[in-house]
C-alpha cells in the first residue's frame, strides 16, 4: 500500500537515493543513525545499501493511548525530505496516522503485513494500553488495545515501545489512572520489549535501534528496564552542558533572574537531571540545536523516568545520587597544637604537690617509727 505523501515534500527523483536527496546526505543520515546506536561507521553503508536495495524492515506501528507526539518527533525535521527519507529507511507497513487507507482496508493491510513478515517485523507500540474493565477504554476496529498488542507481539521479531506512555504508562497512567493504563512491557510479560521512554522519545534512538535490528538482527545492549544503554546509560546530570555551573555552585534561583539569564544550572528550579537517564543533552530534538528543555532554559522534567514523570512536581528538587566533588578545594591544614603553657603549669603543680606530699608522708612515717625503735621486752621483735 503506497504511503501518503506529505504535503510539501519533493517527489522521488530517478537515480540517486530515495526521497530525492543526494547520496551524500543519505549516507550522512545513515551515519547519524549508526552513530546514535554506537555502531561503527561502516554500518552506515550497510544501512544505506539495505535501504536502497529495498530490503527495508517491516514496521507495524500500533497506536493506543497516545498523543502521537512520538510519531511527530520522528517526522519533525528541518530538512524537507527527511521525513520521507526516514520512511524509506524502514517500511512503515501500518501506521494509523500516516496510512493512506483507513477502516477495514487499513486493518487488512496490517494483517497482510503481519502475515508476510511473520517473525520478522518490528512491532512498535506508541501509547499506553488500558487494562481496566477488560481494556475497553481503547478500541481500534472493535478490538481492545490489549488484544491487538498481544496478538501482534506473538509474531513480532522485535518489540519496541516508543515513548514514556508505551514504556511505563506515561500520562494516562498518572494518578488516579482511571483506565488502568500500563506500558507495553507490563502487558507483554515474558517478552523482550525495548523501551524508549521520553516525552517524546528521541527519533534517532528509535531509528538506530530499528536499523540495527534490520541490518544485523540484533538489539542494542539493554538495561534492566529494557532501555538501550547507548542512550539511557547516563543521567542528564552526567553529561549536561551546564554541569560546570552546578559544580561551581552557580544556580538560577528564579526564572528570569541574573543566573537564569546567564545560563546557569537549573538544579534549584527543580531540574530532574540528576535522576533522569536520557540522551537529550547530546541528541537534541527536531534537528534543532538546543531544542531540549535545559537548552531553552527550563529544568529537565524527568520524562523518561517512571518514578518522576507526571508524578514529582516539575519544580521540586531531587537528591543527587552520585555526588562528585565541587569546583572548590579544601585548604592545607598545616597548624598543629602543642603543649600549652597552662597544661605544663598545672602538671608541674600537681607533680610538685605529689612530691611534697610523699616527702611529708615519709617524714611522718620516720617520726612514727622513732618511738617504736626501742624493742619491747619479751616481744621478740628485732630492731
Amino acid at each position: 500500500m503506497p504511503l501518503m505523501t506529505l504535503a510539501g515534500s519533493s517527489p522521488h527523483l530517478p537515480g540517486g537515493a530515495p526521497g530525492g536527496v543526494n547520496r551524500r546526505d543519505f549516507i550522512r543520515i545513515c551515519t547519524l543513525a549508526a552513530a546514535a546506536v554506537g555502531l561503527p561507521g561502516a554500518s552506515a553503508l550497510r544501512f544505506a545499501e539495505a535501504a536502497a536495495a529495498g530490503r527495508k524492515p517491516s514496521v507495524i506501528w500500533l497506536s493506543f493511548q497516545e498523543c502521537t507526539g512520538c510519531t511527530e518527533s520522528l517526522l519533525r525535521t528541518s530538512h524537507p525530505a527527511l521525513d520521507e527519507l526516514i520512511l524509506d529507511l524502514v517500511s512503515l507497513d501500518y501506521h494509523e496516522a500516516l496510512l493512506a487507507p483507513s477502516g477495514y482496508l487499513a486493518e487488512k493491510a496490517r494483517e497482510q503485513a503481519m502475515r508476510e513478515n511473520d517473525g520478522k517485523y518490528i512491532l512498535v507500540v506508541e501509547g499506553a494500553i488500558p487494562t481496566k474493565d477488560g481494556g475497553i477504554y481503547c478500541k481500534i476496529g472493535g478490538r481492545t488495545a490489549l488484544d491487538l498488542v498481544q496478538e501482534a507481539a506473538e509474531h513480532a521479531g522485535a518489540i519496541i515501545a516508543i515513548g514514556s506512555c508505551a514504556s511505563f504508562g506515561g500520562i494516562p497512567a498518572a494518578e488516579p489512572n482511571p483506565t488502568g493504563a500500563k506500558g507495553a512491557p507490563q502487558v507483554l510479560e515474558g517478552k523482550t520489549v525495548v523501551t524508549l521512554p521520553g516525552c517524546p522519545a528521541n527519533p534517532y534512538i528509535f531509528l538506530g535501534t530499528a536499523l540495527q535490528y534490520a541490518t544485523y538482527g540484533t538489539l542494542p545492549a539493554l538495561d534492566e528496564l529494557g532501555r538501550p544503554q547507548f542512550a539511557y546509560g547516563r543521567t542528564i546530570h552526567e553529561h549536561c552542558p551546564r554541569r560546570a555551573h552546578f559544580d561551581a555552585g552557580r544556580f538560577a534561583v528564579q526564572f528570569g533572574d541574573e543566573g537564569h539569564r546567564q545560563g546557569w544550572c537549573l538544579y534549584q528550579l527543580g531540574c530532574k537531571g540528576p535522576q533522569t537517564h536520557a540522551s537529550c543533552s547530546v541528541l537534541h530534538f527536531g534537528d534543532v540545536v538546543n531544542a531540549w528543555p535545559i537548552g531553552i532554559g527550563h529544568p529537565c522534567v524527568g520524562c523518561t523516568e517512571q518514578a518522576i514523570a507526571f508524578r514529582v512536581p516539575i519544580h521540586t528538587t531531587v537528591e543527587i545520587q552520585h555526588a562528585t566533588p565541587p569546583d572548590t578545594y579544601p585548604g592545607i591544614v598545616a597548624e598543629h597544637g602543642g603543649i600549652s603553657p597552662v597544661a605544663t603549669g598545672v602538671a608541674g603543680l600537681v607533680g610538685g604537690a605529689l612530691l611534697g606530699a610523699g616527702f611529708m608522708a615519709s617524714r611522718k612515717l620516720g617520726q612514727a617509727e622513732a618511738p617504736d625503735k626501742a624493742p619491747e621486752p619479751g616481744s621478740g621483735e628485732e630492731r
Binding site: 552546578f246 538544579y267 555526588a323 562528585t324 565541587p326 578545594y329 579544601p330 585548604g331 591544614v333 612515717l365
Partner: protein, 298 residues
C-alpha cells in the same frame, strides 16, 4: 623512712637490673629498613596537576566509598575537607598568604606507604603491615581500634570510622585489589595529565631525578619521599616548598626507629622483664633466709 638495706646488696641489685636493660639495646640497635624489591608506588608532580579531581572520583568508585556530602558538601557535593573515613584520596589547594605571594599548588594526599611505616610500628596487633608490593594494608581481623596508628602517622593518614558501631581504619591501600589483577591504582589510571603515575619505586625515583635534572628551575630540588622519614613509596615533586603542601617532617630518621629499638630491645619475648622480676624475688628470698638464719642464731 628507714630503708633496710646494706649498700652491697643494693649495688648488686642495681647492677643486675641495668645490665639486663642495656645489653639487649646495645646488641640490637635496629637496622634501617629498605624498600622491598617489589616496592611500587606513585610519583605525583605538582607542576602537572590541574586539580580536576578525577583521581578523587575514581578512588571512591574503585573502593566503593560513599560521597562525603556533609559539611561543606551541602548535600549536593562530595566535598571532604581532607582525608576522612569516606575519603582515601583528596586534592587540596595551597595558596600563598599575603599580597605579594602568588604561589599556589594543588597537592594530592593519600597514604605514603612508607618504607618504615610509623603506623605498622605503632600497631600492637600487627593489623597494619607492609605486605605485597610494599603496600601498607590494614587487616580487619586483627585491629582492635586503639587508634595508635592515627597518633603515630606523621602524615595523619589513617582515618577511623567514628560514625560506625564496627569501625574500620580507612586509608589508601594503592588499590591492592587492582594490583593483584595486574592493573594500576585507579587514581593513576584516570589522571588525564599523568600528574600522578604508578610504577616501581626504583623507576619512579629515576624518573623524578630525570625531571629534576631536565628542568631544575621548575622544581624544588628534592624528591620528597626519597629519604624523608626513612623513605616513602609515594614520591612527590613540587614547585613550592614541601612544608607549604602540608609535609611537616623533613628528617631522615624513620618514626619507629627509636621506639622499635627500645621496645624490641628491652621487651623482646618479655625475657628481660621476667628475668628482672625473677632476680628481685630471688634476691629478696635469699635475704629473707639470711635474716631468719640470723634470728635463729642466738
Amino acid at each position: 623512712m628507714n630503708i633496710d638495706i646494706d649498700r652491697r646488696s643494693l649495688l648488686k641489685g642495681l647492677a643486675a637490673a641495668s645490665t639486663l636493660t642495656v645489653l639487649p639495646t646495645a646488641a640490637e640497635a635496629r637496622e634501617r629498613r629498605t624498600a622491598p624489591p617489589d616496592a611500587v608506588g606513585l610519583l605525583y608532580d605538582t607542576t602537572r596537576c590541574i586539580g580536576c579531581k578525577a583521581c578523587v572520583v575514581a578512588c571512591k568508585e574503585a573502593n566503593g566509598m560513599p560521597a562525603d556530602t556533609d559539611g561543606y558538601g551541602g548535600g549536593l557535593y562530595d566535598a571532604p575537607e581532607g582525608l576522612n573515613e569516606y575519603t582515601r584520596n583528596v586534592i587540596q589547594l595551597y595558596q600563598g598568604q599575603g599580597e605579594d605571594n602568588r604561589e599556589s599548588s594543588f597537592v594530592k594526599r593519600q597514604c605514603m606507604h612508607c618504607v618504615d611505616p610509623a603506623c605498622a610500628g605503632a600497631c600492637m596487633m600487627g593489623a597494619l603491615q607492609k605486605r605485597e608490593f610494599g603496600v601498607v594494608t590494614w587487616d580487619p581481623d586483627r585491629c582492635i581500634g586503639c587508634r595508635y596508628c592515627q597518633m603515630a602517622c606523621p602524615f595523619s593518614v589513617p582515618k577511623f570510622e567514628w560514625s560506625k558501631k564496627a569501625p574500620k581504619i580507612v586509608k589508601c591501600e594503592l588499590c591492592m585489589h587492582r594490583l593483584k589483577q595486574g592493573k594500576q591504582p585507579a587514581c593513576s589510571e584516570v589522571c588525564p595529565r599523568q600528574a600522578v603515575i604508578f610504577g616501581r619505586r626504583t623507576d619512579l625515583l629515576e624518573e623524578a631525578h630525570r625531571r629534576l635534572a631536565e628542568h631544575p628551575d621548575r622544581y624544588v630540588p628534592k624528591v620528597y619521599g626519597e629519604r624523608e622519614l626513612g623513605g616513602t613509596q609515594c614520591l612527590y615533586l613540587s614547585h613550592v616548598p614541601f612544608e607549604s603542601l602540608g609535609f611537616r617532617f623533613q628528617q631522615d630518621e624513620p618514626v619507629p626507629q627509636l621506639q622499635q629499638t627500645v621496645q624490641h630491645g628491652i621487651y623482646q619475648g618479655l625475657v628481660a622483664p621476667l628475668a628482672l622480676a625473677l632476680g628481685v624475688v630471688v634476691f629478696r628470698n635469699r635475704r629473707q633466709a639470711e635474716a631468719e638464719a640470723e634470728e635463729e642464731a642466738p
